[in-house]
């Protein structure tokens, strides 16, 4: 082989190796996915004695990376109030560096969905997924005809009831009964008055029958028949009705009779601590089971969960919520597919099936896995969870104006319980202000 042939051969070899290495490089290019989450339990299963908040997340990320070795995942735990988490998202969106997958809930996601920040998940959600998610969770994660995130926790503002106090007062007959734990207002009010008592005879009330925050008050009012919005129509509020006025007068009656924890109806009343210290028999809560079950043995009490009582023209109601993982806008279709795969994996039955915390799952299969486990600590709460999640309503709406409208609503509801406004005045003022907001482009 002469020199000329050798040069040609070397050039050809170099060209071939260049082409081959380019192909190999595309397949091996590392991808980094940024993940912002809100850790809801400690440990991999949620019940280990020394479990840490990110154990489960780290475990699932490792599982995902085992099948995707060229993927790096950077995770940040945003545990805290959802209002503040969304303030962080606002700043990140403005700066152009929001994470690829973010924790969301039903309150705020529409703002980001309507602004093009999020990717819809429909294309990646299989028929099995849809059949497995609790129906209300799909409703709460849907806007403008599309699903916008992968649900993984079903939230609800519901009643927590201290059964031990009912037994102490001989009032078990007033408790709501299985299977639906639905109860009418009169029964609830009678229970509230019966459970407000002076235990030590010093003339002061030691235990109150009920305690409710501002959100508990307006959720209970919705169980009297009318809602903030008519279903499917968030162009105006429809809560200023006689049913709702009657509901607030009934709640005021409990306050005036001394059956309700002082401060009920306002934002500053502390419900959880008073309930855990058995100073109030019934409170509205977004989740208190774990707190009750982890009390010291000598402080534990029997607990049931129930929907809010229904008024004469209403039905059992809880304010439904859902937590999930949303995928933010991705430029590359292959990357979108990869990020969606991670989002789906982290909310899948496979990933969550061993969790034994009171995790309020969004999938039927996960409820079944927990129910089938004879050692599941919270097994008795599953029927109650199913009962109250069956009557979820998307109370605050899902449009982009849902939060601004609620921001107007809450102070006016407080004003009812501070005596600054009557229910008629508060609801009238709210209707005017809310519809002004909703009528703006």
């Amino acid at each position: 082989m002469n020199r000329k042939h050798l040069h040609i051969l070397m050039a050809a070899l170099a060209l071939v190796s260049l082409v081959l290495s380019a192909c190999g490089g595309q397949q091996a290019e590392p991808q980094t996915i940024r993940l912002w989450i809100w850790s809801q339990w400690n440990g991999k299963t949620g019940i280990e004695p020394n479990g840490q908040p990110l154990d489960w997340w780290n475990d699932q990320i490792a599982n995902f990376k085992a099948s995707h070795p060229n993927v790096e995942i950077e995770m940040e735990d945003l545990s805290g109030q959802d209002v503040d988490i969304n303030a962080k998202y606002d700043t990140a969106v403005a700066a152009g560096n929001i994470a690829d997958i973010i924790w969301v809930d039903e309150s705020y996601f529409t703002k980001y969905a309507s602004s093009g920040v999020l990717e819809p998940v429909d294309e990646f959600m299989t028929a099995e997924d849809r059949a497995d998610f609790l129906p209300n969770d799909l409703v709460l994660s849907r806007w403008d005809g599309k699903q916008w995130f992968w649900p993984y926790i079903t939230q609800a503002n519901h009643l927590a009831i201290n059964v031990s106090l009912f037994k102490e007062r001989g009032a078990e007959n007033l408790l709501p009964a299985a299977p639906d734990y639905a109860w009418p207002w009169d029964q609830y009010a009678e229970a509230a008055r019966a459970l407000a008592f002076d235990r030590d005879g010093d003339g002061t009330t030691d235990v109150y029958g009920v305690g409710f925050g501002t959100d508990g008050a307006y959720t209970m009012a919705e169980a009297w028949g009318d809602h903030l919005y008519k279903q499917g129509d968030e162009s105006r509020v429809t809560i200023n009705t006689q049913n709702t006025i009657d509901a607030f007068h009934a709640l005021l009656g409990l306050v005036n009779d001394g059956a309700a924890l002082p401060g009920s109806g306002t934002g500053a009343v502390d419900l959880d601590t008073n309930f855990l210290q058995q100073r109030v028999a019934m409170v509205n809560t977004w989740g208190i089971v774990t707190d009750v079950e982890t009390l010291p043995e000598n402080e534990k009490f029997e607990l049931i969960l129930a929907p809010f009582p229904y008024g004469p023209n209403g039905e059992p109601t809880v304010w439904g919520g859902v937590h999930g993982l949303a995928v933010t806008k991705q430029e590359d279709p292959d990357r979108l597919k990869l990020v969606m795969e991670l989002g789906r994996h982290l909310t899948s039955t496979e990933a969550l099936k061993d969790v034994r915390a009171w995790s309020k799952p969004a999938r039927v299969s996960l409820l079944e896995a927990q129910r089938a486990d004879p050692n599941f600590l919270y097994e008795e709460y599953i029927p109650q969870f199913e009962a109250y999640t069956g009557v979820l309503i998307p109370l605050m709406g899902q449009g982009p104006n849902a939060v601004p409208v609620l921001v107007k609503y809450e102070p006016l509801i407080e004003a009812i319980f501070t005596g600054d406004l009557t229910p008629e005045e508060a609801l009238g003022q709210f209707e005017s202000e809310a519809n002004t907001i909703l009528s703006q482009p």
Partner: protein
């Protein structure tokens, strides 16, 4: 004499300025860093706030110029006026209240023996060391209308029960009281320390002269102590005014729900909503950043005017 080729050869007035700058070049080099930091993190954001105050912006969309529409909206927004009134009332109560009490305590503590003085200084300053977050939450618990410590103590002397943070008339005074006793900036703790230090620097000969003239304790305070504390008091007044008019943390922690999904604090029924809290609501709850920026500019102008007024009227040199 610099040659025409020298960089120091300029027209006479320019040569003077540049020479002065050149002579002080190290000073300028050292202050360049804080100026850059100030410009980047204070002045530039201020300019942006001015820009947003005349715009409509929800952080995820474009910035649309709307002229003075935000300011006109504020002028007609009853909640903004309520927030402004709450803020001014808050400042007008907390600052004089804190300063009066601090001065009274300092006058009581000053004559004590050194060990006793140290003990009381530590005792009053200790709450100021704790995080305002912790202090706010503890006070929130003490204010609980049922089972809270304050109503328990009130009940022992036949008073109450009070509703404190759950009453629209009692909520703001409740927060004010907490700030007077526990705030690390405007509370009595820091003020007592500063006033005692200032009192320590008053020449004892002035008191001797007053005693020789037959001055009573009140006259000594009025004609010797108080005038010579004026600079410190002016400083505390200005700093306290600025801090109280920017109040947010205590309001947020003491009035927002700890156990529910209630979005809004600053209640009940806007009774504790301050301007800064209302800025937070408009920015991060309703995403009206233009409106929030306009409020911030209005607050800035008010604070600036008050600070200048206080500085000019109160900061008079006193000499004996």
């Amino acid at each position: 004499m610099a040659s025409i080729a020298s960089p120091l050869y300029y027209a006479p007035h320019r040569r003077g300025l540049l020479q002065r700058v050149w002579r002080a070049r190290w000073a300028y080099a050292f202050i360049l860093v804080p100026i850059l930091l100030f410009s980047t993190f204070e002045f530039y954001p201020f300019l942006q706030a001015l820009r947003y105050s005349v715009s409509k912006w929800s952080i995820v969309g474009p910035v649309d110029f709307v002229g003075l529409a935000n300011y006109r909206w504020l002028a007609s927004d009853p909640i903004f006026w309520k927030a402004l009134w709450n803020t001014l009332r808050y400042g007008a109560t907390v600052v004089p209240g804190s300063l009066s009490l601090s001065l009274f305590l300092a006058v009581l503590i000053f004559p004590l023996a050194r060990a006793a003085r140290t003990f009381f200084k530590m005792a009053f300053y200790l709450p100021a060391v704790a995080s305002i977050v912790v202090v706010s939450l503890v006070w929130r618990w003490m204010y609980q209308p049922a089972f809270g410590l304050f109503n328990y103590l009130a009940g022992l002397v036949g008073l109450g029960p009070f509703r404190f943070l759950t009453s629209s008339s009692e909520a703001l005074p409740s927060v004010m009281l907490m700030q007077i006793f526990s705030s690390p900036v405007i509370g009595i703790g820091a003020a007592v320390i500063l006033l005692l230090a200032a009192m320590n620097s008053i020449p004892f000969e002035l008191y001797e002269a007053a005693i020789l003239d037959g001055a009573s304790a009140w006259q000594k305070f009025r004609f010797v102590t108080f005038p010579l504390l004026r600079t410190t008091l002016t400083f505390l007044l200005i700093i306290g005014t600025i801090e109280t008019l920017r109040e947010f943390t205590a309001i947020y922690l003491m009035t927002s729900s700890a156990s529910s999904n209630t979005l809004t604090g600053g209640g009940p029924f806007y009774s504790t909503t301050t301007v800064v809290y209302y800025i937070y609501v408009n920015a991060f709850l309703t995403h009206q950043f233009g409106l929030a920026a306009a409020m911030a500019i209005v607050l800035f102008v008010i604070i600036l005017a008050l600070a200048v007024l206080q500085f000019r009227k109160l900061n008079l040199d006193v000499e004996y």
